[in-house]
């Protein structure tokens, strides 16, 4: 029953679908890993920020009647803005306060971002209902790849994800600001000794993260569609990927995104869509026993 069509088509189908979804996971998790790597913040409002971008893009199309390009741009811009608001309103005040002991700050920030995410989620549910929203796709139609009818949008999604990741790589490795970010992730105290203001690095990272979250959200909104309810599961999947890849390691997150994406796709096709997320979670638990620092974790 598993192979409803011939096995070869099924194989290509899994390969293509898995690639698209994995690329999206990679993009989403990259930002999450970057924030943790540089500032040690586990941003549990991640999913809610993605949902914000999607709902903004959808609402722009729905009430302002803008085209798909403008809608997508508005979605990314709102994701970017929401990320900076999160930093300045939630994260930064906790990082600076003297009322909380340094060693307790991580858990305070973690809790604060979690609550912030829930607040965003509830606000969206209140104003825009908890039904799923989709962003008007920029490209439509289907093409046949190795006999598999593939939505052009799926190819577009994968290409954009990799372009953005490539740009990010260039930014981090080829520019001065990027190198500062990289250095901050390795040794935050060292970089302050070199005269780089750490708070500026943080702002830069949250700005980059905002763009990544916006793009990942809008692409997901075009590809599958998401509701305010998705905020929690999206955070959980980014978290799982980042832990699997090694906390704070961007290359680790990229590899883990593909492992999780393909594991899910294979499960959905060969076993049942109902069990989609289970094997990836089992893998995560197994890793915790065997290799708790993840695939490429430094610590």
């Amino acid at each position: 029953m598993a192979f409803a069509r011939d096995p070869m088509t099924e194989f290509w189908q899994i390969l293509i679908d898995g690639f698209a979804i994995s690329s999206l996971y990679a993009l989403g998790a990259t930002g999450f890993a970057l924030i943790f790597g540089v500032s040690g913040v586990l941003n549990l409002s991640h999913g809610a920020l993605m949902v914000t971008a999607v709902v903004a893009a959808w609402a722009a199309g729905d009430s302002l009647h803008v085209g798909p390009y403008t809608g997508a741009a508005i979605g990314v811009a709102v994701g970017f803005a929401a990320s900076l608001v999160t930093y300045f309103l939630v994260v930064n005040p906790l990082q600076r306060t003297r009322k909380i002991r340094e060693e307790e700050k991580e858990i305070f920030i973690l809790t604060a971002t979690l609550l912030w995410g829930i607040m965003i989620q509830q606000l969206i549910a209140y104003f825009y209902t908890d039904n799923a929203k989709t962003v008007a796709p920029i490209v439509q139609g289907v093409v046949a790849i190795a006999g598999v009818r593939t939505p052009t949008n799926e190819i577009f999604t994968a290409i954009v994800c990799w372009l953005v990741i490539a740009v990010l790589w260039l930014l981090v490795n080829r520019t001065r600001a990027g190198k500062a970010v990289l250095a901050a992730s390795m040794n935050p105290r060292g970089i302050t000794l070199l005269g780089v203001e750490l708070s500026r690095v943080y702002i830069a990272v949250w700005a980059i993260y905002g763009v990544l979250v916006g793009i990942a959200g809008v692409l997901l909104g075009m590809f599958l569609g998401i509701s305010s309810y998705s905020a929690g599961p999206l955070t959980a999947s980014a978290f799982a990927i980042v832990v699997l890849g090694g906390l704070g390691s961007v290359p680790g997150a990229l590899i883990a995104a593909y492992v999780v994406g393909y594991l899910e796709t294979i499960t959905a096709y060969l076993i049942s869509p109902a069990y989609r997320t289970i094997p990836a979670l089992l893998l995560l638990v197994a890793f915790m026993y065997v290799r708790p620092r993840g695939l490429l974790g430094r610590r």
Partner: protein, 420 residues
């Protein structure tokens, strides 16, 4: 002070009315009570597309009744509670409605799980409840098993079995007779309401000439439907018969995006809402869904005036449970009028004799001696049921022929008739 004065006038008027009534009627204490409003509690999923119409439509009906003089001189007051789609919150709201706010009846929820959780409380607190949108047959099966305790529950919407039967009737005319289809796959979300729905689908589809090739139940939190569509396509089915309510946008958008060449027909609750076109960016083009009402379809003379009034006031068209909630306020008021009392047992007896022409048809409940007491009678002269299709941003009714205002039309990627 200003507020007091504003409130003072109707209070004074009510007082005068009460005194006047007290002098006219024998039984003074009862008459004094008559001036107080009839309270109807509305427990709904106010943040979901379908549920948000429930309190709005109920308020609209109450305002209309009040403008026309109320019920036996008493105004109707709607008290709304948001259950956030949670059975636990709905139960708390129900307890508060019955014990603190002293409502005379409750209109509750479109989610079967929520209504099933409330049902025992209708007996415990002796409070009449009518659901505008839940479908599970178990609601009324429970009444059959324990009538004396659960007789306070009324099913103001179609049971899942009735829904499946209407889908099969429509499929026979539209798909088998017109398009000569032969095979189907049943695709439903895993929920309380789809268990009896699917059971009836599997029974009635072969009877109307559609062989069921597969029966797929998926989790309501499924996000990627590609594997499901792929499987159905691989099985070479002519049509997908749907049972979806908690999900809607995502399978519809992905169906269009992947250009799955198989039409969808069945229950798709979210598609009944006028916002569904925008929610899916038009991907719903060609989707066929069962409903008890639709824009521009004059099921009864009351349907279109209701839709117009709702749209004027709230800016959008009502969802399916908006129609039923509106009717429910009217027939609860009618039952109170006929009973001459808000006593729960007398109200139940009066509601059982309901014969009310509402927006979705003629409302009559099945009797105590049936398998589904307090379920709506369907078909024929009662509730005809419709099959609508999204076409160019509009919901067009294509079945039954005497109420149709359009004919079947599919997007290009759908291959109908190709299977012959």
């Amino acid at each position: 002070m200003y507020k007091l004065e504003k409130r003072g006038a109707p209070m004074l008027a009510a007082g005068v009315a009460a005194v006047a009534l007290a002098m006219l009627l024998p039984g003074a204490p009862a008459a004094a009570q008559s001036a107080s409003p009839i309270k109807i509690g509305v427990i709904a999923e106010a943040t979901s597309v379908a549920g948000s119409s429930i309190p709005q439509a109920a308020q609209l009906a109450a305002d209309e009744i009040n403008a026309a003089g109320g019920v036996n001189g008493r105004k109707i007051q709607i008290i709304s509670y948001d259950d956030h789609s949670s059975a636990a919150e709905a139960v708390r709201a129900f307890q508060r409605a019955a014990t603190e706010d002293h409502v005379n009846a409750v209109i509750a929820s479109y989610i079967s799980e929520v209504v099933l959780a409330l049902e025992p409380w209708t007996g415990r607190l002796k409070t009449v409840m009518v659901t505008p949108g839940a479908a599970s047959d178990v609601i009324t099966q429970n009444i059959a098993k324990n009538y004396d305790h659960l007789k306070y529950t009324f099913h103001g919407y179609l049971t899942s079995t009735s829904l499946a039967d209407q889908v099969c009737d429509a499929a026979k005319d539209l798909l088998v007779k017109e398009l000569h289809m032969k095979t189907a796959v049943v695709m439903s979300e895993d929920a309380a309401w789809t268990t009896p729905l699917d059971a009836e689908y599997l029974k009635c589809l072969p009877k109307v000439g559609l062989k069921v090739l597969d029966h797929i139940r998926f989790s309501p939190d499924t996000t990627d439907f590609t594997p499901i569509f792929n499987k159905i396509e691989g099985e070479k089915a002519d049509v997908m018969i749907t049972g979806i309510s908690h999900v809607g946008t995502q399978p519809t958008v992905q169906w269009k995006q992947q250009e799955v060449p198989i039409p969808m027909l069945g229950i798709s609750s979210q598609a009944t809402n006028s916002t569904f076109w925008n929610d899916t960016n038009g991907a719903t083009e060609g989707v066929l869904y069962q409903a008890v009402s639709g824009p521009g379809v004059a099921v009864t003379p009351k349907t279109l005036p209701f839709v117009a009034a709702f749209q004027k006031r709230f800016g959008n068209l009502p969802s399916y449970c908006g129609y039923t909630a509106y009717d429910e306020v009217y027939y609860i008021a009618d039952a109170i009028k006929r009973a001459g009392s808000t006593d729960p047992d007398k109200l139940v007896a009066a509601l059982e004799k309901t014969d009310w022409v509402g927006t979705i048809g003629r409302i009559q409940f099945k009797g105590r001696d049936t398998a589904n007491p307090h379920a709506l009678k369907i078909g024929g002269s009662t509730i005809p049921g419709l099959m609508l299709q999204w076409q160019d941003g509009k919901q067009v009714n294509v079945w039954p022929p005497k109420l149709a205002n359009g004919t079947l039309k599919f997007p290009k990627f759908i291959k109908v008739g190709a299977a012959n």
